[in-house]
Subunit: 466 residues, 2 copies
C-alpha cells in the first residue's frame, strides 16, 4: 500500500480536532511502539487519545481522506501485535475514552466507552446484582479490545464468549460516520448482523467507540474444584464424559505436572497435591449450594472411569486450596520466568481432539529440541501453548518457532479447529492465515475489508495479507 | 432488476444437474406459490429439490451465470414472505436435503443437511443426553430456515437464539462454490465471522446447505409455572424484578385475559384461573428439583410487589395444569380463528419497554378501530402482535394494517428496539426497512448484498429494497 507520511500540515489540521494538547502526542515514547507480542516493535508517527465520538470521527475521516494509516489501540494487552503501527501513521489510543455512559438494570444492559478496562467494569458492578459474564484472564484489557478479538476466557462453556454478551456497538467507519450496530433489545431478525461482523475483526473494519453489554444476574453460588488424574491424557479424556453427564460447568481447565513444576520453581513453593500428573479444574455456578454439590458428585461419577482421584473444592478457605488456585493463576508467569523469550499459540479444536494436539506437541518437542509447556481451557478445546527459546540463539528460535507454529496450525486445521480461540491473528500470525483458511475464504475476507475500508487505512497488515 | 426468463434451453441445461426427474418440477403447483405470509402469492417458473451440495452448486452457478432469480425455501413456515419467488425464476426447495450427516457427542456437535425439520432433529435426539436448545414454536420449520431468520423461541433468555447454537455452516455462494464458515471448535478469534453474517440473512447472501449445531446437555429437571396478576401491566412490570433477583429462567412468557378469552371461545373450554387479568409463565431448568423450587420461591418473592397471586406449577400432572398449557400453545390458533384475515408484527424492544408498546397498541385499537390481540416473550422484550381484519373490507384492512405497522415500528424504533425479534423482514416488511434503520445503515447492507450477490439473484426483493 502507498500511504501518505504525516507532515506539519497534517499535524496542524489534526490538532484542531483534539481539545486538549496533552492528548495529541507528536513525539510518541516507547510506550506506544509495542503490545504484548514481544518480537516486533513499530513506532507510530503520532498518538491521539480521543475522548468523544466526534473526535474519533474527525480523525478517522482525516486519515481516510489523506491515506494515513490509523491503528486503534486499547490497553495493549494483545498477544498478537494487533496494536502495532507497522506502517506508521496514527496510533488511536482509546484508553482515555473510558466512561460508563449508562447503567440500565431495567433493560439488563450497561453502556460504556470502548476504552474502559474490564477491571474497572468489574469494580463498577461489584456491589450490583449483575456481572459482565465473560472472564478473560487479562483484567487490564479494555472492553473495546475484548470486542476486537471476541475475547474468550474461563467461563465460555456455560456463558459463551464476548460475542454473546454484546448487545450494541457504536462504530466509526472510514467515511467518518458513526454507526449503531445492534440495539439494547435481546433478539433480532432484522437484516445482516454487522455487529457480529465487527466483533472479532481486530480493528480492521472501523473504530469501536461505545459498547452496550448484557448484564447477567450474578450467580448466588460459585465454586471451583480440582480433580487429579494419573496422567494429563486421562484428565483431558474425561472432559467429554463430564459434559455428557448433564452437568453444565462454567469452567473446565486442564494443567499437567510439568507446568506445575515450573510454578514450584517460580514461586519457590510446593504444590499441595503430590499424586497425579494431570489435573482438571472445574467451576460450577448455581442458585443453591445443594445444586453445585449434586453437580460435583455427578462430575466425579462421570470421571471415575478415567482413574480420577479425590477432588478438592477450592472455594474452601484452606491454605491448600489457596495455593492451588494461586498456582493456576501464575502459570503464565511461571512459564515466562523459565525462558528468555516466549511465543504463544492458542489454537482451538473440537474438545475431544485436545489429546491429538498434545501428542503432536510432544513429538515436536523431541523432533525440534524445543520446550513447549502448555495448559488451557479443556471444556472449549482451547489450548495455550508456549514456545520457549531457552538457550537457542535468536535465529534458531525464530526458525524453530516458525516450524512449530506451522506444524501446530496444520494439526489444528486437520482437526477442523481454528487458528486462534481468543487471542486473534493480529500482525504476528497474518502470514499463516491464507495457508490455514485457504485462498477462496481469505479472498472473501479481503473483499469485506475493501468494502469497509477501501483505502486500507484502519489497522493495516493485520489478520491476513492484503 | 433485469432478469432472464427461464426458457426451454435453460430447462434442458438445468435438468442435467438433477439426477431424479421427480425433483425437477417444471409445472409448480400452488404448494410453491406462498408461505405463511398470506397476503401475497407468487409462482416460481421452476422448482428444484436438491439432495446434495453438488446439485445446489450447479444450480446456483447456472442461475447466477444466466441472471435467473433463485429463491431458497425450507418448509415455508415463514411469516414474512421470504420464500416467495416474487421475480419468478427457480424455487430451490431444500426439504429433501434432510439427512443427519453426523452425530458427534464427543465434540458435542451434530451435522445435518439444511432441510431437516426441527421436529425430526428433536426426535433424533429424544433418547440422547443432548438437546438442540433453541425452541422456536414452529417445529415443522427446517434448521436452514431457522438459520436464515436467526430464529428465537421460548428459551432465549437462558440459552440464546439460533446464532448461539450454530458452530459451522456450509454455504453455496453465487459463484457456485461451497464455503465452510465456522468450525466444530467452540471458540474463534480468527478473522471476520462470516458465519454470523449469514445467520439471519434470510437466504439473500447464499444458500445454506449444511449446519453443524451445538449439542447441549439435556437438563435433568424442567418445569413451568404460571403466575396470575391483577392486570397485564402488573405482570409485565414484574419481569425485570425477576431477572434482577439472580434467577435465570429459561422462559418468561406473558399473556392477558383478552387472549385467554379468545382461546375459551376457540376451544369451547374454560380457563381454570378465574382471577387476574395478566399472566406470566416462567420456565426453569436445573440439575436438581431443590434448585428450581428455590428459584421459583425467589421468583415469587421478587414479583410480590407487583401484586402477584399464587403460582401454579404446570409440570404437575393435573387437568388444570394441562389446560393452562394447552391454552398457551393454542393462542395463535385462537386469534386466527377469531378473524378472517390476520397479519403479525414481532418487534423486539428492551425488556422494560414492553408496557410502552402495549399502551401504544391500545391507543391504536381505539384510534383506528382495529382489534390487536397480543402475547409474547416478556423475558426478551419480544411481542407477538396480531392485526385482525374482522369485518373490514380488504381495502380498509390493507390501509389500516399499514398504518398500525408503521406506527408500531415508530414506537419500537423510539425505544431502541428491532423491527423483528425472530420472524425476519422477508418480502412483507422490506418496504419499511429503510425508514426504521435509516439510509446510511441500509446502504451498508446493500453493499454487503452486492459483495455476495453482484447479480442480485439469490432471494431478490427481501429484507430491503435494492
Amino acid at each position: 500500500m502507498e500511504y501518505h507520511k504525516i507532515n506539519q500540515t497534517d499535524l496542524d489540521n489534526l490538532r484542531k480536532f483534539i481539545s486538549d494538547p496533552e492528548r495529541f502526542i507528536t513525539k510518541p515514547t516507547t510506550h506506544w511502539d509495542h503490545d504484548q507480542f514481544g518480537t516486533v516493535k513499530a513506532m507510530p508517527d503520532l498518538v491521539i487519545q480521543p475522548v468523544t465520538n466526534e473526535e474519533v470521527m474527525h480523525v478517522v475521516k482525516y486519515a481516510n481522506d489523506n491515506k494515513i494509516p490509523l491503528v486503534p489501540r486499547g490497553n495493549s494487552t494483545g498477544l498478537m501485535g494487533a496494536n502495532l503501527a507497522v506502517d506508521g501513521g496514527i496510533s488511536l489510543d482509546m484508553i482515555k475514552m473510558n466512561k460508563v455512559l449508562e447503567y440500565d438494570p431495567e433493560s439488563l444492559t450497561m453502556t460504556v466507552q470502548a476504552g474502559l478496562r474490564l477491571k474497572d467494569l468489574d469494580e463498577y458492578l461489584a456491589d450490583k446484582p449483575f456481572m459482565y459474564m465473560p472472564a478473560p484472564a487479562m483484567h487490564w484489557a479494555t472492553i473495546g479490545g475484548n470486542v476486537s478479538t471476541n475475547a474468550g476466557g474461563l467461563k465460555a462453556i456455560k456463558y459463551g464468549v464476548t460475542r454473546e454478551h454484546i448487545r450494541e456497538i457504536k462504530v466509526v467507519l472510514t467515511n467518518g460516520k458513526l454507526y449503531k450496530f445492534g440495539s439494547k433489545a435481546v433478539k433480532s431478525s432484522s437484516g445482516y448482523s454487522l455487529r457480529d461482523l465487527i466483533i472479532g475483526s481486530e480493528g480492521t473494519l472501523g473504530v469501536v467507540t461505545e459498547v452496550t453489554i448484557r448484564l447477567y444476574p450474578r450467580p448466588h453460588k460459585s465454586i471451583n474444584a480440582i480433580i487429579p488424574f494419573p496422567t494429563l491424557n486421562d484428565a483431558i479424556r474425561s472432559v467429554p464424559a463430564i459434559l455428557k453427564s448433564g452437568v453444565v460447568p462454567t469452567t473446565v481447565e486442564f494443567m499437567g505436572r510439568k507446568v506445575v513444576k515450573l510454578w514450584e520453581t517460580y514461586a519457590k513453593d510446593e504444590f499441595p497435591i503430590k499424586h497425579g500428573d494431570g489435573f482438571i479444574i472445574i467451576g460450577l455456578d448455581s442458585f443453591t449450594e445443594n445444586e453445585w454439590r449434586e453437580e460435583l458428585n455427578e462430575t466425579l461419577e462421570a470421571v471415575k472411569p478415567f482413574k480420577a482421584e479425590k477432588a478438592i473444592v477450592l472455594s474452601a478457605d484452606s491454605e491448600e486450596a489457596k495455593k492451588i488456585w494461586k498456582c493456576r493463576e501464575e502459570l503464565l508467569l511461571a512459564i515466562q520466568n523459565s525462558t528468555p523469550k516466549m511465543d504463544e499459540i492458542d489454537v482451538c479444536v473440537p474438545i475431544n481432539h485436545i489429546p491429538v494436539v498434545l501428542d503432536r506437541i510432544e513429538e515436536l518437542e523431541k523432533q525440534l529440541n524445543i520446550r513447549i509447556p502448555n495448559f488451557g481451557h479443556a471444556g472449549d478445546g482451547n489450548l495455550h501453548i508456549y514456545l520457549c527459546s531457552d538457550d537457542m540463539t535468536d535465529e534458531e528460535y525464530a526458525k524453530t518457532s516458525d516450524k512449530v507454529i506451522s506444524e501446530l496450525y496444520k494439526t489444528a486445521k486437520s482437526l477442523d479447529g481454528n487458528m486462534s480461540g481468543e487471542h486473534g491473528i493480529g500482525y504476528a500470525r497474518a502470514n499463516y492465515y491464507e495457508d490455514f483458511y485457504g485462498k477462496d475464504y481469505t479472498d472473501l475476507l479481503r473483499k469485506v475489508k475493501r468494502l469497509f475500508d477501501p483505502n486500507y487505512i484502519v489497522n493495516p497488515g493485520k489478520i491476513f495479507k492484503p
